[in-house]
Symmetry: D2
Subunit: 366 residues, 4 copies
Amino acid sequence: MSGNTTGLLFTVTSFGESHGPAIGCVVDGCPPGLAISAEEIQQELDRRKPGTSRHVTQRREPDAVEILSGVYEGRTTGTPIALLIRNTDQRSKDYGNIAETFRPGHADYTYWHKYGVRDPRGGGRSSARETAVRVAAGAIAKKWLQQRYGVVIRGHMTQIGEVAIPFKSWDVVNTNPFFAADDSVVPQLEDYMDSIRKSLDSVGARLRVVAENVPVGWGEPVFDRLDADIAHAMMSINAVKGVEIGAGFACVTQRGSEHGDELTPEGFASNHAGGILGGISTGQDIEVSMAIKPTSSIAQPRRSIDKQGNPIVMETHGRHDPCVGIRATPIAEAMLALVLMDHALRHRAQCGDVAVETPQIPGRIS
Amino acid sequence: MSGNTTGLLFTVTSFGESHGPAIGCVVDGCPPGLAISAEEIQQELDRRKPGTSRHVTQRREPDAVEILSGVYEGRTTGTPIALLIRNTDQRSKDYGNIAETFRPGHADYTYWHKYGVRDPRGGGRSSARETAVRVAAGAIAKKWLQQRYGVVIRGHMTQIGEVAIPFKSWDVVNTNPFFAADDSVVPQLEDYMDSIRKSLDSVGARLRVVAENVPVGWGEPVFDRLDADIAHAMMSINAVKGVEIGAGFACVTQRGSEHGDELTPEGFASNHAGGILGGISTGQDIEVSMAIKPTSSIAQPRRSIDKQGNPIVMETHGRHDPCVGIRATPIAEAMLALVLMDHALRHRAQCGDVAVETPQIPGRIS
Amino acid sequence: MSGNTTGLLFTVTSFGESHGPAIGCVVDGCPPGLAISAEEIQQELDRRKPGTSRHVTQRREPDAVEILSGVYEGRTTGTPIALLIRNTDQRSKDYGNIAETFRPGHADYTYWHKYGVRDPRGGGRSSARETAVRVAAGAIAKKWLQQRYGVVIRGHMTQIGEVAIPFKSWDVVNTNPFFAADDSVVPQLEDYMDSIRKSLDSVGARLRVVAENVPVGWGEPVFDRLDADIAHAMMSINAVKGVEIGAGFACVTQRGSEHGDELTPEGFASNHAGGILGGISTGQDIEVSMAIKPTSSIAQPRRSIDKQGNPIVMETHGRHDPCVGIRATPIAEAMLALVLMDHALRHRAQCGDVAVETPQIPGRIS
Amino acid sequence: MSGNTTGLLFTVTSFGESHGPAIGCVVDGCPPGLAISAEEIQQELDRRKPGTSRHVTQRREPDAVEILSGVYEGRTTGTPIALLIRNTDQRSKDYGNIAETFRPGHADYTYWHKYGVRDPRGGGRSSARETAVRVAAGAIAKKWLQQRYGVVIRGHMTQIGEVAIPFKSWDVVNTNPFFAADDSVVPQLEDYMDSIRKSLDSVGARLRVVAENVPVGWGEPVFDRLDADIAHAMMSINAVKGVEIGAGFACVTQRGSEHGDELTPEGFASNHAGGILGGISTGQDIEVSMAIKPTSSIAQPRRSIDKQGNPIVMETHGRHDPCVGIRATPIAEAMLALVLMDHALRHRAQCGDVAVETPQIPGRIS
């Protein structure tokens, strides 16, 4: 299938440009009978939407989602669920001057070379606005995973620029504009972000996403390992430059005697594996971490070229997030939900729906 | 498709267990007319094969590849290419004691829970032996990419445990057992590995893989971004726990004014993007880095459980690599080749075969 | 991918219920640079729309299509094209009585058993209304095939019930309500259809679809043969019960000396193959024929059961086509266009864009 | 995925040329725990193998299958099952004269134009020899469907040339060389086939395949309807030119009052639908019929051209089936098994494994 569909059984097909009439997606393969409403999806969208604090873009979009199909009398019917978000705050005048040039760090150059044509308004298809539909689709996956298996998926920011953010409690993550799990760091972050903004610059970030209560057995080796599909999903998010599972890059200096998680009758003694062994979930928490690059659009003069190859200098003014990582937490949660749901369905297709039982009976015919 | 096929247009379907009759793969979608021989494929396999130095497993497999189909009079015909490698040095007696128990850090536990049955001999399907067929398939992709577009794909080790390995020259990478790009570090590495082995332990590693001469335009946003598919491919390799593109995790502390690569009439002024913007190749080098966990099989006593959940203590003796990362370089090269070839074909399907020309003509009908 | 996406490279993802808010689709993988407008798509939709004569359903839907994405300044950009058709004439009161029962010949019984829930309004997802989006997507494929390769795709009715309709000329097909290629038969068809309607019954039909100027070389053996994908596409249309390529079932009594098309320096001497040999296009016309069952909704009393398994008698009144085959011609054309376009892209992915040249050079590297 | 893999969850990837070293396939996605042996697969292969009577090709291949992976201690492990059949009776001298010419009715012309190169020995990849691996893979699907759901899949010949073969009993189908379900017709068929052979000609055939005990609910509308996937599978078999489900082309002249199967508390009153409504199985027998063209290789002089376009006359001598339809019955059974197994897995992925229960509970969360 083409590049705008993800998943094998629980598929999301995304469409829409930043400043076109609408963005949206089609979610196919959702099990029937799930209670879901536009309001529930909207709640997830509102966690990601712009304009919620001075630290994110001031573009004001209601991002109101409409369910076009696949839900009848409040429940999914098993048929495709189409979700539509109309674009309302488009201000394309802000972007008119970039049609003939390539913004550094953006996809302008590559889209133009690939397709020979591009929609320059607000980055067109390459805008992070597209990720809103992932959050909407992810809301469905999150709910099903929670209802069917008790899976809980949550994310938080672990670092912005030089500022590390310790994990204290999930309780405060949604009560501050940074998705920080330690609200004592919030004043420091506010000052830090203000200084970044004043210096007309931007900064990178690091996120962590965790899925709890994932049953043992999800993942399809050798290629469609659960961790491989998670890496694919996270790296498909705009601005992500690195992905780690469990110990991640820290494993380079670890010894086998430290990294390999021992088993005890009470469970695993540690979780350096990040909840995945051999590409299959272990029943422990799925632990994912990712790096997000600094926003490319900054108000400093930067060198670039125009379509004819002439050198130019450009500054990008407008309503940009000084740290795109801030709003990425709900997106990363959504992508993890999409991957897990796809694998939940793949697992029960081949192996039946017995992963939650322990112990399984060897020799069963699935 | 199921989990043992990768790629959309240039697909590799892998099969085989470590101690079964054979491992192999079917490569489908290869363009016709490519000159390829078993000998060329064998050369790549020999770079990965066990027993080449005291620092890798002493299992001795010739890993002789046979081409079963798809090649006629020395050239590919466009039909599926089946590659077969018979297993010869199986010694299943070495592994008999593990059928009832789960080795820490291995996939024994997850395979057994997922499938309710598993082939315990040498790790069965979860053995890194499977990666030999990826190297074989990758040899075909490498050759086509080189012949058709001049793409060159090479990898080298950048760190083993605490020992960083600087990049000096590609010339020495294949002349030492560590795929080190600086042979002055080799004596230090030999001592280091000897000490690891003597301590009955193992250690992690970090690799870098680079693709040069990739045309601008490869990659299929928004989900099948080139970087997303590379992350998928690398994370599907046994023991990989982290993947970076370009600056990777270093971008967390970068400013936008540093990270965003400026453009000049002579080309990009830097390559923090790692050759990919918006999920599409920029024409610069594709830069990928990955972390590989320490070998799980070590000769120290470790806690685990048996199938009935009783606590046990196990030591894994046998012929194991003290650093599985060492032999991973050819595998990572192969996986990068598979992804790039798939995307080369996907690109010319949609956009025609014009990416190599500059400038493209806006408004063309592809 | 799930069941509502078709195609590998040129994909169509369909959504929507007969009486929900909207139907639509996402077309992904379209080459960039193609000039396309909502008006052009609308023209194809209007050929299929209800209410155009007394011989089809009197439901009146404008079926107005909106392009939501993927087109910028009148040309495709290579990004997904979302098409939306709002439902306006829903009259769900007509259908309320069927929620608890299963209409004979309809999908009510199977949807309910499969999903455990169904949208009963107008057949929900199983309504032929869904095929409107196929016609819309097909309009894009038709135009690209015509512009890029000169391919022309046309269909006509060859039989309604007992009345065979000879082929006279393509010119009259769109000037009568039956898509008949011989307008002298039209009065007979009108009388025939009136008598069917008066007898409160319905009748089957047979269609033929032809693609001219298809280059030699499209089709991907052994499974994704061009004819196999055409059969899949046609059989996926509501009410189709049989598909033939070329001679079709007539080949059962043919001799090899008759059926096997001889080659001459001027081309093939006949076309029993229907333009496909070994699953690959020959360069001759692609010839497809199909059978469409009589409309299941008729105003006669019919036996059925309710959800509890009790026997009932039901008559289906309302606005139904007495011959669903009549409006199927544009749908079959659209499906053939979708298959051909997908295969055009698949072919040039693997073999390059050289199929139109004759002769090819053996030994080329594609 | 490329054209040599079929299925979404239960996939078969086929490889091999008629006169290359081997043919074979990789079966991926098979549920674990199924008891299967090479002997069981061999039994199905022996039903199709050449040389069993004077009415089929006299090529003598043992067609001995080897299981290379995916089965441990007699049971499937859930990992890919590779099946290998070495080619032994290749006699490539028989075929040397055809490398420069195109046999009428064969794929020589299209393969050469598509790929620019072809393996001419015995038809290479386009040979019906490839279908042996489908039968081998189908044996696994057949067994699982039978064990898990009690599904029984059987086929028989219904017509050879002008000779219709009534259905009397399944018991005799495997006791005569024609897969006839009425052995009283066998002497007539033997005479008929002898006369065809003496006239140096060949003839077409019609087959019927039936699946019993298929649960209600399999099939994935709107595109991957069960009937659409069956049509795809059957049309992918060499020489098939038409496919029917249920009433098939007979529905053209049927009335809705006749065709639409009524429901009663005891079940459906008829089966014109062929066991599928709205693309989903009804629980009735799945009924499929197909037309197979006459063998293209005949010993009569036929007009053709060579690669340079010069006119030639060729006769095809050698060991050809005078009616390729005769050996097609096991192939059609196998393809139906592959489709049903894939849909069984797809169904339980989305809807859970409850289709066998009646009635289902509306509102369940699957």
